[in-house]
């Protein structure tokens, strides 16, 4: 029997480590430590309901488990074989308990290819991976296929780069393979940097062997014997598990010299990044690995010609690699049958924001935003109104109601003014101010710009300053025009992908939420009530009974008594001095009479 406990970021923050400890301790106390194995797995995806505990082999999915629930699970489920009903997921529609994840709305429309092993195996045990088909694809490549056939198979599958740009993976391999050289490199880009994105991290934590296997396959296909994983140092668990996976693969003869007795040599090293967003750009990544400043250089030359240490190098993202082994075992046709016309397979998204089911999901390309938000995501939190969904992180844009039925793939998202990006997806309701959202993403880009080219270094700073001005109520219509011009010029002139896409959050909100910008500028209003400078707090003198609680709560001494006593009241009503008001909301929170409102 196995107890799988989620060790992903969210669950860890909700004490999953303590849960594991409790399981181990109590099982040992009961002498069950040899019968039941407790495994800290990678992310299950359903972060909203974490921490997740799954009992195998009967596939029972416990949600929101607390450390003190462990004893009950052991006593009831493990010892007596009875499910702990109140820890099971409850279907929000029919209020019934569901014990198998595949019957949950969150999982029903998902198709897990890249995440196929996440949450199912102990990622620190190569045998578990092999028992689920791990390294079968590598064996097949080395014994049954020529390198060219491997390249052709990947090309035929239609797999495209999951890092964001969507370049056909097979074509990339083919270009690199043409530049035969004694020293070539397979590089795995594990520098996941979008705010809130944790797709790659989850794969590396939950199924590190799929990356090791895919890199070896790529090495065979392009003729490289060195593999490098560029991973950010703030992913210690992913690093730890990759290290274990690499060591185990070496031990099993799946890395190193003469792999599977075929004469093919390949090994992998890890390189640590300091967590710069721009180092996800492949040339910047390569410079960082070489010990240089992490900043992009112009392409050409492409890494396929001159990459790491000026040698031909192939750079793929973690999720891209995770798809490779299964394409080899199941065939390109199988993979190509999934997805839309130009975008094949699935895509992993980190679903976040004002949505009921926050978590990590994987859906076939071509799934609509509506399905993702309302079926998998379970709709908007608190039944509020959907306003926008941001895809593609700082390089993407905000899509609206009218895009909900867009079947998402690389082309359709780009056509709608956003982009696939690496897979961030933030859902917003009517409490989000779109100017503030644009500003948030631009703050991120300004922070993460390397500073090499002037449009990104200075232009984004100036855009941010204009947006800040608008959110403070000091914007003009000329500012909006300047924003558009700057955005267009930055897109047109910036050096790398980061700079060229950095205006997207601004442009897409200007396009889709123009009225909201104009409101900020002309009416000096923020309809979402986010931009504090545009808000005013007012006391209804008729409703105010003059108790003075608001004045006591006010940290800025902005509230004083008036001379006016409303009919039916004994004390004079209070008034707020807008010049002193810091818009903290303490007065509203304390008023029992509903006399204070925000305008």
């Amino acid at each position: 029997m196995h107890v799988l406990v989620c060790g992903g970021t969210g669950c860890q923050a909700s004490a999953s480590a303590q849960i594991i400890e409790n399981f181990q301790r109590i099982l040992a106390e009961k002498g069950l430590q040899d019968e039941v194995q407790v495994v800290r797995t990678g992310c299950f995806g359903f972060c909203e309901k974490g921490p997740i505990v799954k009992i195998m082999p009967d596939n029972t999915f416990y949600t929101q488990v607390k450390p003190e629930d462990v004893e009950k699970i052991i006593n009831e489920h493990i010892i007596k074989g009875r499910k702990v009903t109140d820890l099971l997921y409850m279907d929000p529609e029919n209020r019934e308990h569901v014990s198998d994840s595949k019957h949950m709305g969150f999982y029903r429309k998902q198709l897990r290819i890249a995440l196929r092993n996440c949450g199912f195996i102990n990622p620190e045990n190569i045998d578990e991976c092999i028992s689920r088909g791990g390294y079968e694809a590598l064996g097949k490549c080395l014994t049954e296929m020529t390198p060219q056939q491997v390249v052709d198979e990947i090309t035929k599958s239609g797999l495209r780069g999951r890092g964001g740009a969507g370049f056909p993976t097979g074509v990339k391999w083919g270009l690199c393979a043409k530049n035969k050289c004694d020293e070539m490199y397979v590089i795995c880009n594990a520098d996941e940097g979008d705010p809130g994105a944790f797709m790659d991290r989850s794969i590396m934590e939950g199924d590190p062997h799929s990356i090791v296997e895919a890199m070896a396959i790529c090495g065979y296909a392009i003729g490289a014997t060195h593999g490098l994983v560029y991973i950010r140092a703030e992913y210690p668990l992913a690093i730890h598990r990759l290290q274990i996976a690499i060591a185990q693969a070496r031990e099993y003869g799946l890395l190193g010299n003469d792999i599977l007795g075929t004469g093919f040599n390949f090994d992998i090293e890890l390189r640590y990044g300091a967590g710069a967003f721009v180092c996800g750009e492949e040339t910047a990544l390569i410079h960082s690995m070489e010990g240089k400043r992490g900043e992009p250089t112009l392409k050409p030359p492409f890494p396929a010609v001159s990459g790491y240490m000026a040698k031909p190098s192939n750079v793929n993202n973690v999720e891209t690699f995770a798809n490779v082994p299964i394409i080899i075992t199941k065939g390109a046709d199988w993979f190509a049958s999934i997805g839309s016309e130009k975008s094949k397979g699935t895509k992993v998204f980190a679903l976040a924001g004002q949505i009921n089911n926050v978590g990590l999901i994987e859906v076939p390309m071509g799934t609509t935003l509506r399905d993702i938000i309302y079926e998998i995501g379970g709709g908007i939190k608190g039944g509020r109104k959907f306003k926008a969904v941001q895809t593609g992180g700082p390089s993407g844009g905000c899509l609206t109601e009218k895009h909900l039925d867009t079947a998402i793939d690389y082309e359709s998202l780009a056509a709608a003014g956003s982009m696939m990006g690496s897979g961030g997806m933030v859902v917003m309701d009517d409490t989000s101010c779109m100017v503030a959202i644009a500003k948030f993403y631009l703050e991120f880009t300004c922070e993460e710009s390397c500073g090499k080219c002037s449009p990104c270094r200075i232009g984004n700073k100036r855009m941010l300053e204009i947006l800040t001005k608008i959110t403070r109520g000091d914007g003009t219509m000329e500012d909006l025009q300047e924003l558009r011009n700057l955005a267009a010029v930055i897109k047109d002139t910036a050096l790398c992908g980061l700079g060229q896409t950095s205006p997207n959050p601004v442009l897409s909100t200007l396009d889709n939420f123009w009225d909201e910008y104009v409101e900020h500028v002309v009416d000096k209003k923020c309809r979402a009530g986010v931009c504090k400078k545009l808000m005013s707090y007012e006391i209804d003198k008729e409703k105010c009974i003059g108790c003075g609680k608001c004045a006591k709560n006010c940290p800025g001494d902005a509230i004083t008594k008036t001379d006016y006593i409303a009919p039916g009241h004994k004390l004079p009503s209070m008034v707020i001095d807008p010049a002193k008001c810091i818009k903290c909301g303490a007065c509203i929170a304390g008023c029992k009479f509903g006399a204070i409102s925000v305008k």
Binding site: C446, S449, S454
Partner: protein, 594 residues
């Protein structure tokens, strides 16, 4: 050859030609800022960072228009490409980019050291920018001043020329980009002061900086104060390379020789005596040549502990460089001081005594093509009782500014002679200003001293040229002497590493820190990447040499007299005291300031 169309002009260019170069071939001007090339000197800076040279590719390799604008400096032409360099889209983008750069620039042109020479200023002018539409935060950094260089990074435009120069051409490694985004700037590691960094003060960063972010320390006020002080006797000496470059500042073509006019102008500025560093260049040859021959003779006599090759030590940037980078070889370079420091020593001892002037009442000013000389004059070993041998160093550019301030035009100056005795010099001395010149001058003398015969030739053309590393065998009447030459510190490093590893053996090596030698020095008029200017100055140096009646240092009558009257013999006791120095290990000299 491939066919491209630029602004509707069809041209053929070799494969690998950038759009920028193709446009230049077609006579089309594309403005640039970060791009910089020193043709023929293996220096090309094209980080593609400023985005000023962007152009519209209306037809790319795939027959379709390119999505975004392309940096012309770093985009290669492809067959059938069609490019617009001045479309409305391009002009708007280019203008916006320059407005952005200006929005983070102090625009204090009125008082900026680079005003009139500033490439950003010219660019703003070219684009007709009359106001800066973006008002926002501006970058502020601590000002940093070393004895040679002022860094005012508020003005930095991140062209990275200095960084490229410092790391790739000079391999000094003092400057690199630090911080990110809006805070990104070029600085020594940890933003330490230049003096605490491995900077060797060669100043080539200043020579290539397009704006006023890097400039020389200005000593003109100090010099004027000395001249205005009636108690002081102020004398001046002029380095070989200044006389072939100063004219450029007055509109004369590169390579114009203005030796006599410079001497005349200096007198009108109020210097009491106008002398020539060439005089002590001849003296350097006597000392360094004697030292070289001494080592060779010892070596040939079987003493294998002798350190060969001898390395020249005239160039203060180079001296700094080996002190930082080759501390294990401090006993290899010649101990002879540079001509400038020899001048200071001779002037403040021999000449001051002779004239009856007290040391503290004598102010010695040097006119140099160099920024490292400012630093060199402040080295402690060149002070006596708190008084330096050389009081102030002015660059060629500073001298030009002073001359202009005095409402003088070099063109109108009569040609005047230097004063005696520290003004007499030979052709051997003037070629110190070009790469290979010091060693050629040394060869002219060493041959005759070594063999006791008259040298059959004077021009050792095998030692001249612009190649970064050169070597030649010179036949000393049956004894072959192997000579190496390097200019640019990366070349010096390569050559010295070869020597250290024992891969190659030389008797003598000349090193100059600046590309082209002193003619390409950091204190010379800005060449803005036109390497033809450096070549013209070099040619002028050799013309000046050819026109001199005496062309060998040991035949300089004033030098002969100096030894007879005062010094005794080359490398003798007094020489050692006055004309030789020693070196320090600076390899650990990296301090992090608080």
């Amino acid at each position: 050859m491939i066919n491209v169309t630029i602004d509707n002009k069809q041209i053929q260019v070799p494969e690998g030609t950038t759009i920028l170069k193709a446009a230049r071939m077609a006579g089309i001007h594309i403005p640039t800022l970060c791009y910089f090339e020193l043709a023929g000197m293996k220096f090309e800076n094209k980080p593609g960072g400023c985005r000023v040279c962007v152009v519209e590719v209306v037809k790319d390799f795939n027959g379709r228009p390119r999505r975004n604008l392309a940096p012309a400096c770093a985009t290669d032409c492809v067959e059938g490409m069609e490019v617009l360099t001045h479309s409305a889209r391009v002009i708007n983008a280019r203008r916006t980019v320059v407005e952005l750069i200006l929005s983070d620039h102090p625009t204090d042109c009125l008082t900026c050291a680079k005003s009139g020479n500033c490439e950003l200023q010219s660019l703003a002018q070219y684009l007709g920018i009359r106001e800066i539409p973006f008002k926002g935060e501006q970058s502020h950094y601590r000002q940093d001043m070393s004895p040679s260089i002022v860094r005012d990074m508020d003005k930095c435009v991140m062209c990275r020329r200095c960084e490229n120069m410092c790391n790739n051409i000079q391999t000094v490694g003092a400057l690199s980009a630090i911080n990110r985004g809006f805070s990104a700037v070029v600085a020594p590691a940890f933003e330490q002061d230049l003096v605490d960094s491995p900077c060797v003060m060669c100043g080539q960063c200043v020579q290539v900086c397009p704006v006023g972010a890097l400039s020389e320390v200005d000593d003109t006020r100090n010099v004027m104060a000395a001249i205005n002080n009636p108690k002081k006797t102020v004398i001046v000496n002029t380095a070989p390379a200044t006389r072939v470059a100063l004219g450029e500042e007055f509109g004369m073509p590169a390579g114009t020789i203005v030796t006599g006019q410079m001497a005349a102008a200096l007198r009108r500025l109020g210097f009491d005596y106008v002398f020539d560093t060439d005089f002590t260049a001849d003296l350097t040859i006597m000392e360094e040549g004697t030292e070289l021959l001494g080592r060779i003779k010892k070596y040939m006599a079987g003493d294998k502990s002798v350190r060969l090759p001898i390395l020249t030590s005239c160039c203060p940037g180079w001296v700094n460089f080996f002190e930082h980078n080759f501390p294990d070889m401090l006993d290899v370079p010649s101990t002879a001081k540079s001509p400038m420091q020899m001048f200071g020593a001779v002037a403040k001892n021999y000449w001051a005594d002779k004239m009856g002037i007290k040391r503290e009442d004598l102010v010695v000013v040097s006119i140099m093509p160099c920024l490292a000389k400012k630093y060199e004059s402040k080295r402690k070993e060149f002070y006596k009782d708190g008084n330096p041998d050389i009081d102030y160093v002015l660059t060629t550019r500073e001298l030009a500014r002073l001359i202009k301030q005095f409402n003088l035009n070099l063109k109108d100056m009569p040609s005047e002679d230097y004063d005696d005795p520290l003004g007499e010099s030979t052709g051997a001395a003037v070629i110190f200003g070009a790469t290979g010149g010091v060693i050629e001058a040394a060869t002219r003398t060493a041959y005759e001293v070594f063999t006791g015969k008259q040298c059959p030739k004077i021009d050792f053309t095998e030692l001249r040229g612009m190649e970064g590393i050169r070597d030649a065998w010179v036949d000393f009447d049956g004894t072959p002497i192997h000579i190496g030459i390097a200019h640019g510190l990366s070349n010096a490093r390569k050559l010295l590493e070869r020597v250290r590893e024992g891969k190659e053996q030389f008797h003598a090596i000349e090193v100059m820190a600046c590309p082209g030698g002193c003619v390409g020095g950091a204190g010379q008029p800005y060449h803005h990447g036109n390497s033809e200017i450096i070549k013209k100055r070099t040619e002028a140096i050799y013309r000046e040499d050819a026109g001199k009646p005496i062309r060998k240092s040991h035949e300089n009558p004033s030098i002969i007299k100096l030894y007879k009257e005062y010094l005794g013999e080359p490398c003798g006791h007094l020489s050692h005291e006055l004309l030789h120095t020693h070196y320090f290990d600076k390899s650990e000299h990296v301090e992090i300031s608080e």
